[in-house]
Each structure stands twice: as structure tokens, then as C-alpha cells.
Symmetry: C2
Subunit: 509 residues, 2 copies
């Protein structure tokens, strides 16, 4: 059977640019996984790992122009955005290098023996080991930061896990280029290049999740695709953890007082956030609860002006464009749904941004309008006009889990007066990140970041961005009554690596 | 339809003792879950939670005689063992109270805003919240420590999660008694008694895992039962984490030098560990690699003597007794399998301990003897006689995941000479706890404990015993740019609760 070619496509024209690779056969997937597994011991040295992560960042920065050019040609995200995304990607790799060196993620716990206890307490020393080969499923909308050199790859490598990445079909050439840079950085760090594998093709993605030597998987994408892979991971003879980021509405609640105080600013801010990257962010605000009445009207007016002024944009591929146009039309047909600015097809290859409005009463009980509670990928949001806080609570109560939830409050509410605390308490159970008077787009890389949330935002209680993302790829092991010369240095009594530890219950720096 | 009665049965006679309760109907399961969910806000106060855990421990200790009597009547585990198990159970509750008060488990991370960064860094503050209602599936073999008042319940309550326990049919009266004590302790702590629910019945267990308000589950039991519930948890419209401890062979490797040095001691120690609790521990050593030749023969001789002298014992129920007898017979029919002491039926209601031997060559490739690589619950172990280290490696390579792995080494090997390091490296990937010159039975409660391991030992990379067991029942949430008056006290700038935190990347005490 001839190999199935993988084409790079220009979304600005819909035309094939070049044949980049071939879809991986089952044998090729197996080879990639075995090569990754063989690289596991080489990644055990934390110093080597940190150096590799930094070298990979340097290599990506060094080839920055080529990387941005390749990504722009396939995604139409634009050089500005992609230059920023590359900087984010390499910052993430370097931040993970720092975390590897610090070693707190090893979570070293030591309890000395206590023969006088009942029953006698043996010496116990626990730390964390890499789980094994990690499968990474790339996202369409971040060809760098959530793809081959992205957060899952960076955190898995940081944990000591080799990765095999399933490339996203929207950017195969960028994937190949980044994988080559990572693999060269690996070799220059004295690591086998098998530490980073790359496969293309839908079937290859299934082979990968089913492979017995794959120990865990990371995924960023749609609910449909993510759930299918989650189900595969759970159905294996040996199930594996599947860390998927699937979908999110990212609700925003604008308090009555906030709308009264700064309707225009909120409308403009919302327009900027929902149209950013042509509305293709997983944290795009997709449902906005704004008060009925004059203050809310002013917000809608401001939003109308700002969105009307936004330019038509190119989505990542034509299937997404079709889905966006169809999804908007389906929503527009619902009773009581208006569109002050109608989103839809722009030119032949572009879409135009817009937004819908609906009275909250349409969403407080199950019905046709539940469609509005589903994510619609692209530059559209739904403004839900509410009468009172009870309606806000009723609508929020019907939402699935989210990556983010935002409240827009007035100045006095930020001081604890009025609805501020109540609204914050209402949205906190819904999301993994809660914002006050900000916009959810922009997921900064920080220790305290949390990019995850109740299902379907993620399939686990973990984050795929930030300092703790590394925790996903580790498993604990405890050594009992093990003589010091046989212990890994991380657990030896003298703490030769200078790691932070908890000893006999006390946290030590 | 009349309620299905739940009987307490005496395993020493096989006779029904008393009708204890009725199997929960779907409506009753729903009521228990809703009552638990309603109790979630009341558990939010860590001081109340800690006091409740200590009061629960006191109540169990105070009713110790009754608890031990009830458990012995249903399990035949004996007052000595059960008194110890109760002490362990209440120690676990108190240890969790200490952990709740310390608050490190909240994992407070704070990154201050940095407007000068590119892109600007917003203020981010992250901690952990309880996931919601936790379903706990009790174990047969620990009517206290892994059942109603056991580790899953203690750690879930410590995390702030109400629990609904599915009682094990082997000890329904003990379950009712313990649940009543916990619920009274809750009320005395000012908590709704719904924080601890109890249901009986197989169907009720399925209703429970499917209930939309159940947010996570803990389980200790068989591979078959645990996998069925894991599959249910994964197949839900909203999948939930399932922390199951399913099964483990707990391999032991006796080095050539260790056998030469102390064959008799190892044989005696092994006999004690494999017959403890009539072989009904999840960490029973079920597969022992011992060298062929004189030293190994001496070990087998010592084991033979010690096991021959062990008394017949009563298993937890008659189904287990039947499975044990059938399982042993099936194994005995395999070619080259000997039984220096034949395990099997003792008296009408008892079983006698024994062990099997087999040459390692029978286990290095797939075949009939793979049955020996499956756990056999009860007082039996398999001694695998190996010729060389290559055979040890080949057999270990065929094992599924385990809770524990043990190496028995000679004194010089403990100093790093000879096979010690090599054997430790071989067993570490197989298990969550690695022991040198000890026996795996006895899972001490300590911060550094790890009771979990690669599948099927557990279905996750977590522990169900020890200080970090609490981590299973939490999910992170990050607050972005949230004014101090609106933040939970755990995250406020002044740290009013005095919690350990990581601020701007630095770990603070």
C-alpha cells in the first residue's frame, strides 16, 4: 500500500503548499514509541535534561524566522502573533529547565525509622519517577505553544519522559521543523534523538494511544476528538492517564454595577478578547452575562462598535470555517436570538466577527437554546441579558466545566461590597481559573498558573500550563528500609543533591 | 418490591448472624449523595474538619470493644489483629487532622503581577479546593482501615469532601456501626451527618459511581470489581477520577548471596508474611524468586517447616474459600509445579497455608504458567527457582504492576557490592514501594508512605495510604488579578492563616 501523503495547506487560499511527510504506518508508530522508550534511561540525569530544554529553546529562537514563516504559511495566524507564541514557547522550555534543576517537583519525603512506635515504623523515603513514554496530541490553534515544542512536550521532557508527538494536520511542516530542531538539540545534549518522536495521521494517533509502551498522554483540542482518545486510553488492557484539554465556554459575568460604571470599557475589552486570534483561543469568552436595561444596552452598543470595526480573519482551516459558519447560522435560527453584529463568512477564505444576544430566561431551563451553552470555535460570543442575580445563578448552574470564569465588577464591589463576593462564589465551582476585571485570553506562564478545569475543560484535575504541569508525568515510589548506598542520590540521608525535602513531617527548604 | 435484606454472616460457620440493613434503592443512593453534596459547604472550614476527624477517632477508640467484636464476628480476623487495625484507623484519622491543620496540601502558589514583563504578567494565586462528593468502595480484608472509617474516607474528609461509602458485604454490621459513630462525631462537630453516607448492595454501588453529583471514587478490592467500576467512571457523560487499588503479586527477589547468608531467616520471614491475616493482605508476597541450588533449597526447607507449623485459618467468606481452593488446585495441575506444603481446604470452614515451587524457565515466556503471575488471594505463595540473574530479569519483565517489590540481599550487597543495585534497579519500575530485607505486609502510616503502583496495583499514580493520599480529592483553582478583599483567606497577601506558600517562585515555610 502506498504511503498516504501529508500536505501542508495554505488556509488563506485553501491550496496545498507542499507534501511534507507521510502518515505513519503502525510499524512506524511502533518504531517511534520504541525509540522513545529506549531513550528513557538517558533522560534520567536532571542536569542533562535541563541543558537539553535550554538548548531546545535556543535552537527554536535561533531558527525563529524560519519557524514563524513556516507556521504562518500553514495557519495564517500572522507573524506578530506567532513571534509572540514562539517567545512564549521558548520561555516555557526555559522555565521547565529551572524547575528541573530546583527539584522540588520530585516531592522528596523522608520518614526515619522509629523502632519504638507501635507497630515499629520502618525507614521510608519517597520521590517521584517519570511515568514513561508520553504521547502528545498537538492543538490546531497553537502551532508552537501547544504543539511539538509546546507545554505538554516541555513538561514531559522536564519530568524525564520521552515524547512521541502526533502532529496536527493544520501545521505538518511546522511540526516537522520543530521536531527536527528538538531532535538536534537532544543529540547536541548527548541524548538519543528518539526522546522526541513525531507521527502524522489520524490512524497513527489511535495506534499511539493504544501502544503498550505509552504510559500517559497529553491532548489539546476538541471535545469530540479528546473524548474519543480519552475513551481509548481508558479502554486499554492497562489504562493510562489521559490529560486532555477539550473545550470551554469561559463565561463572563458583568455585574449590574460594573455595567453602570464602565459599560464602554467592558464592551471594548470583550471585543478584543473574543476576536483575538480570530476567536480561536480555548479561553475565548464565549458566554457573557450582562444585565438587561440601560447599562447593559450601553455595553452592547460599545461591543457592537468595536466588533463592527474588527477585520475579517482567516481560520486555521476550511473545515473550521465551514463549522463556524454553520454553527453561527444554527444559533441565529433560535427564537429570541439577535445579532447586533452578525458573524459569518467574510470573503471566500475569511470569516467576520460578530455576537449574538439572548434573554437569560431562554437559558435557565433545558431546551433548544442549550446549543448556546456549547463552544463555537471562532470569532463569536453570546451575550446573555439577565434581569437579576437569580437569573445569573440559574444560567451558571446549567454550564459545563470551564477553563476560566470571569467577573467584571465595579470598584466598590472589588472592596467586598455588593455582588462581588457572591458572583465570585458562583463562578468558582465552574472553572480552573477565575478572573476579576480581566479577560481570559492570555494564559501567562507562571508557577501559579492553572490551565484546566472541570470536564470538559479538562479530563483531569491538573494543569497543562505553569509550574505544576510537570506533576502529570510522574509517579511516586517509596523505598523502605533501603541501605543508603543503594538509594538514589535524591533520597540519600546526606542529601547530596541539595533537594528540598520533608523529613519526619517537617518541610525543609 | 420488598427491600433486599443485608445479612451479617459468620465466616467461622457460614451462618447468617443478623439482618443488618437493606440494599439501597436508586432513590436511597440519590438521597445519600444529595445529603453529602449539601454538606460540602459545611466542610470548608479546616478547623472544623480537623476537629471532626479527631472526634471521629476518639469515638471509634471509645467504642473500641464493640467495634472489634462486631468486626471479628463478621470477618474472623481475630481480636488481636482487629485491635491493631482499629489503632491504625484512628491514627490515620488523627494524622489527617494534623495535615489539614498544617495546610501544605493546599499547595498555595502566588505570583505577583509584573507589568514590565512581555507580555505583562497578571497577579496569579492558586490553591486547591475539594473536588466534591467522593464515593468510597470498602475492602473485604480491612473492615476498618480500608472501609467506612478507613484511609479513603479519612483523606477525602480531610480534603473537605463528603463521602458516601459502599459497604462491603463481608462486614455490613461493622460498616453500620462505624458509620453511626462517624455521623455522630459529625453532628457533635456541628456538621450535617450527611458528610458520611453509607449504602449497601451491588446495584447501589453501580448507581453510586454513575451519580452526576459524585466527583471522584476510591476503591480497594479485586481487579475484576475495580476494573468494572473504573470502566463505569470513565464511561460517564462527565468522567470522574477513579482511584482504585486492584491487585498485586508483590514479587520478592532473594539474591544468591542472601540465600547463602541467611536462608533460614528468609524462609521463616516469608512464611510469616504470606500467612499473616490468613494471606488476605493486598501486599502479601505472592511470587518469590529464589536461587536454584543448595542455598535456595535451604530457604525452601526453612519455609516448609515454618508453613507446616502454621494453623489453619478462616477466610473472610465462603466464596473466597472456594476461590482459594480452586485457584490452588488449578495451579497445582501445571507441569513442573510442586507443593512442598500443599495449601488447600483445612476444616469445613478453614483453609491451610502452603506454597508452590516452579522453575523460572516456565515463566520466562508466555504460556500456561502465566496463571502463576496472577494474584491468588489467601495463604499461598509461589517460589520461583532461578538459575541466574538473566532469568530473574526475564521473569520480572513479564510481571504486571505491583504495590510492592522486595529484594533480599546479603550484607555486602547492602553496601553496594554485587547484585544489590542491579536487583533494585530491576524491581523499581514494577512497584510503588520497594523494600530491602523486609517483608511487604505492614503498610505503615507515614508521610513518605506509598500504597499504589503501576496497573493493576492501582488505576492512578497516587497512594491510598500516607500523607499524600489527600491529594487525590483536590482540584486546583487560580485567581487572576483578584482584589485582596475578594480572595479566600488562604490566598490573601497578608497570609492570615499562616500557610506555607511558594511566592514568586520561592518556597516559603
Amino acid at each position: 500500500m502506498p504511503a498516504t501523503p501529508v500536505w501542508s495547506v495554505d488556509p488563506r487560499t485553501g491550496k496545498q503548499r507542499e507534501e511534507v511527510a507521510a502518515e505513519a504506518t503502525p510499524v512506524e508508530v511502533d518504531e517511534a514509541v520504541r525509540a522513545a522508550r529506549a531513550a528513557l534511561p538517558a533522560l534520567a540525569d536532571r542536569t542533562v535534561r535541563a541543558a537539553f530544554l535550554r538548548r531546545a529553546a535556543d535552537a527554536l529562537d535561533g531558527a525563529g524566522d524560519r519557524v514563524v514563516e513556516a507556521a504562518d504559511a500553514e495557519t495564517a495566524l500572522g507573524p506578530g502573533r506567532l513571534t509572540g507564541e514562539l517567545a512564549r514557547t521558548t520561555a516555557q522550555l526555559r522555565a521547565m529547565a529551572d524547575i528541573v534543576e530546583e527539584g522540588a517537583f520530585l516531592d522528596v519525603l523522608i520518614d526515619h525509622a522509629d523502632p519504638s512506635a507501635t507497630p515499629p515504623q520502618p525507614d521510608l523515603r519517597r520521590y517521584k519517577l517519570p511515568v514513561g513514554v508520553v504521547a502528545v496530541y498537538s492543538a490546531s490553534n497553537f502551532p508552537l505553544a501547544f504543539s511539538v515544542p509546546g507545554g505538554d512536550t516541555a513538561s514531559a521532557l522536564a519530568a524525564g519522559c520521552p515524547v512521541v508527538v502526533k502532529a496536527h494536520p493544520d501545521h505538518p511542516a511546522t511540526s516537522e521543523l520543530c521536531a527536527a530542531l528538538l531532535r538536534r538539540a537532544a543529540e547536541e545534549s548527548g541524548l538519543p534523538k528518539g526522546v522526541v518522536g513525531l507521527v502524522h495521521g489520524f490512524e497513527a494517533g489511535l495506534e499511539l494511544i493504544r501502544h503498550p509502551l505509552v504510559a500517559a498522554a497529553g491532548f489539546t483540542g476538541s471535545v469530540r476528538g479528546g473524548r474519543a482518545l480519552f475513551d481509548e486510553a481508558a479502554a486499554r488492557p492497562v489504562p493510562i492517564p489521559f490529560f486532555g484539554e477539550l473545550g470551554s465556554l469561559n463565561p463572563v459575568v458583568v455585574s449590574q454595577a460594573a455595567a453602570a460604571e464602565r459599560a464602554e470599557e467592558i464592551g471594548t475589552g470583550l471585543a478584543g478578547s473574543m476576536t483575538l486570534g480570530v476567536g480561536q483561543f480555548c479561553v475565548k469568552p464565549g458566554l457573557v452575562l450582562a444585565p438587561a436595561g440601560d447599562a447593559g444596552d450601553a455595553l452592547v452598543k460599545s461591543l457592537t462598535e468595536a466588533v463592527s470595526n474588527s477585520e475579517a480573519g482567516v481560520l486555521l482551516d476550511h473545515r473550521m470555517r465551514d463549522n463556524f459558519v454553520a454553527g453561527v447560522q444554527e444559533r441565529l435560527r433560535l427564537p429570541d436570538v439577535d445579532s447586533p453584529v452578525t458573524p459569518g463568512s467574510g470573503g471566500e477564505h475569511t470569516v467576520s466577527a460578530g455576537f449574538l444576544t439572548v434573554p437569560a430566561a431562554r437559558l435557565t431551563t433545558e431546551g433548544l437554546h442549550d446549543l448556546l451553552l456549547e463552544e463555537c470555535f471562532g470569532p463569536v460570543t453570546v451575550v446573555v441579558r439577565y434581569e437579576d442575580e437569580a437569573e445569573v445563578a440559574a444560567v451558571l448552574d446549567r454550564l459545563p466545566g470551564n477553563l476560566t470564569a470571569t467577573v467584571q465588577l465595579a470598584a466598590a464591589e472589588c472592596e467586598g461590597e455588593g455582588a462581588g463576593g457572591r458572583l465570585l462564589a458562583l463562578v468558582t465551582p465552574l472553572a480552573g481559573r477565575v478572573l476579576v476585571n480581566g479577560w481570559p485570553t492570555g494564559v501567562s506562564i507562571a508557577y501559579a498558573q492553572n490551565h484546566g478545569g472541570p470536564y470538559p475543560a479538562t479530563t483531569s484535575t491538573t494543569t497543562s500550563v505553569g509550574g505544576t504541569a510537570i506533576e502529570r508525568w510522574l509517579r511516586p515510589v517509596a523505598y523502605q528500609a533501603t541501605p543508603d548506598p543503594l538509594l538514589p542520590p535524591e533520597l540519600q540521608e546526606a542529601n547530596p543533591l541539595g533537594l528540598p525535602r520533608r523529613v519526619d513531617g517537617r518541610r525543609l527548604p
